[in-house]
């Protein structure tokens, strides 16, 4: 019982933290602050994944997102020496329009989610690495898995080709 209460407190705390840091991220002019705020969002989501019974994805979220992808972002931010947006970024009319559209979208999706009835009985759920791996390496996903490795290779080559300087082409 006590563990249940602790679980709900942790869930709502990290859900609020994720929302607040995501809000800070989109309202921030300086992209470096946005990136650091997004790391807080990612870590909060990782805790929520663990509370939802998905430890494998929780660890993957930290390692791949907060580790690899965000380091890449910060690396580029420091490489380009990014400053905050200096000009007045958006007109008041555009901002109002975007906020109205966003609220309409949120109301729509929120209504669908709030009206959904989840009637299945409570069962124990713990998607440990072993269970996920058995599904991931089954025949069902063999082609998707191989296609993903090709995709990563293509991304690797593409990133190198796109990011190198033009005068480096002479050496090839």
């Amino acid at each position: 019982m006590n563990l249940e209460v602790l679980n709900s407190i942790l869930f709502y705390f990290f859900a609020a933290l994720a929302l607040v840091s995501a809000l800070y991220m989109v309202s921030q002019r300086n992209p470096t602050y946005s990136a650091f705020s997004f790391i807080v969002t990612l870590v909060s989501l990782s805790v929520i994944y663990a509370l939802l019974g998905s430890p494998f994805i929780a660890v993957l979220q930290i390692v791949v997102y907060a580790g690899a992808i965000m380091v890449l972002f910060l690396f580029v931010l420091m490489l380009l020496n990014v400053k905050a947006e200096d000009r007045v970024p958006e007109s008041g009319r555009l901002r109002a329009l975007v906020l109205v559209l966003a609220l309409a979208f949120l109301a729509q999706v929120g209504t669908v989610f709030a009206r959904a009835r989840f009637t299945r009985p409570d069962t124990h759920f713990w998607a440990a690495t072993r269970e996920v791996a058995i599904v991931l390496f089954s025949e069902k996903y063999v082609y998707v898995f191989e296609a993903t490795s090709v995709l990563i290779l293509a991304a690797l080559v593409g990133a190198i080709v796109l990011a190198r300087r033009d005068d480096a082409k002479k050496d090839v």
Partner: protein
């Protein structure tokens, strides 16, 4: 906390995060912040997958959602690498990160 409460709150959180991502893409002028907002939307979808994975359980295909999240993470990593390479290329050509400056393909 019952499974139903857990699942519906994570779906609502996912909707909120996705909306914030949309707002970021539409309002921000810095291409890196726009890119971060796209990543936020990907994360919101992942959260919906994980919540529904919890709902469907191990026997009824909940683990397929976990595999789907795994692939989304992989594609996001590849996308970040290529996207940031494009950002570096754009910055080299235009010397700015303002999305309004990148209008070469505008008709």
């Amino acid at each position: 906390m019952t499974t139903a409460a857990l699942v519906s709150s994570s779906l609502l959180l996912s909707a909120g995060l996705f909306t914030l991502g949309v707002v970021g893409v539409l309002l921000r002028r810095n291409v890196i912040t726009v890119f971060l907002s796209i990543e936020l939307m990907l994360n919101a979808v992942n959260l919906a997958f994980i919540g529904l994975s919890r709902y469907w359980g191990v026997e009824d295909g909940g683990l397929d959602a976990q595999v789907l999240v795994f692939f989304v993470l992989t594609v996001a990593a590849a996308e970040a690498a290529v996207g940031l390479a494009i950002v570096i290329g754009l910055h080299r050509h235009k010397d700015t990160l303002d999305v309004d400056a990148f209008d070469l393909l505008k008709w």
